[in-house]
C-alpha cells in the first residue's frame, strides 16, 4: 500500500468525561485503528477529558460497559505519548495519582516499563499541538 510510506503525527484530544456521552469510547476506537496504520499517535486529556483516566471506575450501577481498562493497552499499540493537562487536573482538585498509570515496554532496554504519561502545562501543550499534522477532538 502506497500510504505506508506516509507517517503523520495524529493527536487525539479528549475533552469529555466518559459515559455521559459516547465520545470517550468511540475516540478510543479511532486511536487504536490509527496505531494499526503505523502512524505517530499521541493523546491529550484536557478539560473533563482527564476524568476518562480515573482509577476505580465502576459502571455496574449504570448498566454500561467499563472500558477504562482499554487505556492500559495503549502501550501495546506503541502509543507512548499521553499528555495530561496540568491545569485541568488542578482545576478539578485531582492529582496524577488519581489517574491510571499507563506504561509502554522499551524493547531496547530489555522491555523495561516506562511511563507514557506526561504532565504538561497548557503553554507546553499549545506548542505540542501546533506540531501535529492531524488533530481530532472528541
Amino acid at each position: 500500500m502506497s500510504e505506508d510510506a506516509i507517517i503523520k503525527k495524529f493527536m487525539y484530544v479528549n475533552r469529555k468525561s466518559p459515559y455521559g456521552t459516547i465520545y470517550a469510547l468511540e475516540s478510543l476506537e479511532v486511536v487504536l485503528i490509527t496505531a494499526a496504520f503505523d502512524q505517530e499517535v499521541s493523546l491529550t486529556f484536557t478539560d473533563d477529558g482527564v476524568y476518562q483516566l480515573m482509577k476505580d471506575q465502576k459502571t455496574d450501577g449504570i448498566g454500561m460497559k467499563n472500558f477504562s481498562s482499554t487505556y492500559a493497552a495503549l502501550g501495546d499499540y506503541e502509543i507512548k505519548k499521553i499528555f495530561i493537562d496540568k491545569e485541568s487536573l488542578e482545576e478539578r482538585g485531582l492529582v496524577l495519582s488519581d489517574l491510571q498509570e499507563l506504561v509502554w515496554e522499551d524493547e531496547d532496554e530489555d522491555y523495561a516499563e516506562k511511563s507514557s504519561i506526561n504532565l504538561v502545562s497548557r503553554a507546553d501543550l499549545s506548542k505540542i499541538m501546533n506540531e501535529q499534522d492531524i488533530v481530532m477532538s472528541f
Binding site: 503523520k8 495524529f10 459516547i22 479511532v30 490509527t34 494499526a36 496504520f37 502512524q39 492531524i134 481530532m136
Partner: protein, 130 residues
Amino acid sequence: MKLGILINEGPYQHQASDTALQYVKAAIEKGHEIYRVFFYNDGVNNATRLATPPQDDRNITKEWSALAKNHGIDLVVCVAAAQRRGILDKGEAERNGKDSDNIEEGFRISGLGQLVEAGIQSDRLITFGD
C-alpha cells in the same frame, strides 16, 4: 488541495452537518478535491434514506447524496458506529439478520481505517461535530 472531512453529529440536532455541507460546497466551488467525507459518532445518522423532514425544511441526507452523485464524493459511514445506531446497507442487514436496510444512495459503509486513510492521504482533515 485534497481535503478530508469528518462529521461527528447527526443531521438536525446540531448544525455540524449543515456547516460541513456549506464548507464542502464552497471548497468544490474553489476547485479543491474532497478526498472523502467520513461519518462517525451520531454523524452516521446523516446516512438514513428513511428520514422524512417537513417539505419546507432542507433534506440534509439528500443534499449529501446529490453532492456524491454530482461531484463523485466518497461518503463513508463507520461500520461500528452505524451498527450501534441502526444504519445498514444491504450486506450489513443480511449479515446481522435484519429485515431491511436504510442507507441512502451515494453513502457506503466501511471501517474506521477509511478515516485514518483520509487523514493520511488528504492535505487537511477538517472535523465538524458537537
